[in-house]
Symmetry: C2
Subunit: 323 residues, 2 copies
């Protein structure tokens, strides 16, 4: 890799990936519409003479093509990540995840750029029957518009690899935590407890069992997986940890960190919202067999996230106000 | 079912389904843009006082909503069916299959219609490793834009079922033959042999092994599958025959019917085109367990198709001129 474009490059995952690539001497084009991306996250990119920031939308084919000049690889991370609101805005996932992925692939094809890493989600397994869930799990049924839109994106990447000779690594992610994490339940609980230390509302019965990956391990895994591909091939990699934590236990860690002992109200039921997966635990042995291994356990990933919140609560609050 | 809307209702499958529903006393709204649909196929609908024909596109949300008034069920069959041209028009499958399915589902949701049958394709299995291929085969890799766009449609239907309480039957079809078949290799070979009886060009090595279903059996299967669903659930059904035929053998049947003995030229390779599946054989035991059984063997389905061509070659030629 000499020069790469990162869609969503000012976001949580994108900006961490951008910094890692800068460390490796890669030139980075951060492509972001700054709806959820944060200018604070890409200060290193702005200061790097060989890199640049493009403020534009992934549905803007013309800007994409112009930004792709000189690039050899695209990390397509931009997405609607507001998983829980899908049913209130039924076209949003389709547009920002499926159509946007098509637009990125077409811009790449027309620009002669044919190497892509795409971040999908472990939610494409719906409600799996096999745990830990491997990439070749039984053909699943989709349970959310978010996962359906990501699965559609996977299919597009694969079809471009088969039809046009692209090289494509698809990553099915669990939730990720760490520095610059600005949305999701750890943030929600943290801000809620600061606002009302005596009471906390938890979606579902609190027994949902989830795997969380530390951002540094995720970035490592994406670079490992893409690097392991032969030109013109496509592969799907699960990427997560081998451990899980139940929501109530992560709530306990957060309460202890904040120093509060609130009354916990559960909204009830095995799912936090329609389409939520009660258990997420991915079999990541395929990516591990390529030499990757997550280093940070879940409790530590939560701890680092909370410490980052303490130091950057201003960013958290600005991020909330902007969206 | 009292009143149903069939997208693509003037096409090969749609018009046969429409006629069957008329026989059962169901009111039918044929919704078709007549790009590949044929006015000749819906004469019975036009004569039926309780049914109607709407000449509009599935991407036209307003026309869809107006056509849906009074309907209780949608058979969403409209699609780009030109499977082989995907790579030349990379947005066509996305627009006509994925976006159109989203538009249909949204129009249904806003109109309070929540029962849908959706025709997908056995091609979503990509290049399967298990034959016959069951619905719960290992999570496949997409090999064509057509199949990717249909898989995206499946995901949307399933997400609407989970999120909004829709009832949805998804059918993964093999190729279908029979009366009103106006595109695909049997038609191509038939017209080519009429034009040049001495020579026939066959895509691939002629050893591709395919399963073909007779249109009457397909219509039966769709009605069986949808009828077997409990309200608010979603199911995927493979729908095909238990036998296969290799392309060269179907060529032989066609040559014998036409009464010619041409020189056969194979373009070579295991696939007829990029994304073609060398073998398609679906495990249809799930739909059979609901009481459905195909009656017409492949050679007979080919024979009926050829007899229909003989009697309607004018329609075949008009269909070719119009597209």
């Amino acid at each position: 890799m000499q020069r790469v474009l990162i869609t969503g490059g000012a976001g949580f995952i994108g900006s961490n990936l951008a910094d890692r690539l800068l460390d490796r001497g890669v030139e980075v084009v951060v492509y972001d519409n700054f709806v959820t991306g944060r200018p604070e996250f890409i200060e290193r990119i702005r200061r790097n003479g060989a890199s640049r920031v493009v403020n534009a939308d992934v549905l803007d084919a013309k800007s994409l093509r112009s930004a792709l000049v000189g690039c050899d690889t695209v990390f397509h991370l931009a997405a609607n990540a507001d998983v829980r609101q899908g049913l209130e805005h039924p076209r949003r996932d389709l547009e920002q995840n499926t159509l946007a992925t098509s637009t990125v692939l077409e811009a790449m094809r027309l620009s002669g750029v044919n190497r892509i890493a795409f971040t999908s989600t472990g939610s494409v397994y719906g409600e799996p029957t096999v745990f830990p869930t491997p990439e070749h799990a039984p053909f699943p049924v989709q349970t959310s518009l978010y996962a359906a839109s990501k699965l559609a994106g996977e299919g597009l990447v694969q079809a471009y690899c088969h039809g046009y000779g692209f090289t494509g690594a698809i990553f099915r992610l669990v939730s990720t935590l760490g520095e610059r994490y600005t949305h999701g339940h750890v943030r929600d609980f943290y801000l809620a407890l600061r606002a009302d230390p005596g009471h906390l509302r938890v979606l579902g019965n609190g027994r949902q069992e989830k795997s969380y990956l530390y951002i540094g391990d995720l970035v490592d895994g994406i670079l490992h997986g893409l690097g392991a591909l032969d030109a013109g091939t496509t592969e799907v990699f699960n990427i997560g940890t081998d451990e899980t934590i139940i929501v109530d236990d992560s709530v306990r860690l957060i309460c202890r960190h904040v120093g509060v002992d609130p009354e916990i109200e559960h909204t009830g039921g095995p799912r936090g919202w329609p389409g939520d997966s009660p258990v997420i635990l991915l079999d990541c042995s395929k990516l591990r067999s390529r030499g990757w291994r997550p280093e940070v356990p879940i409790h530590e990933a939560i701890g680092r996230t909370l410490s980052w919140f303490d130091e950057h609560v201003d960013i958290l609050i600005r991020a909330e106000q902007d969206t």
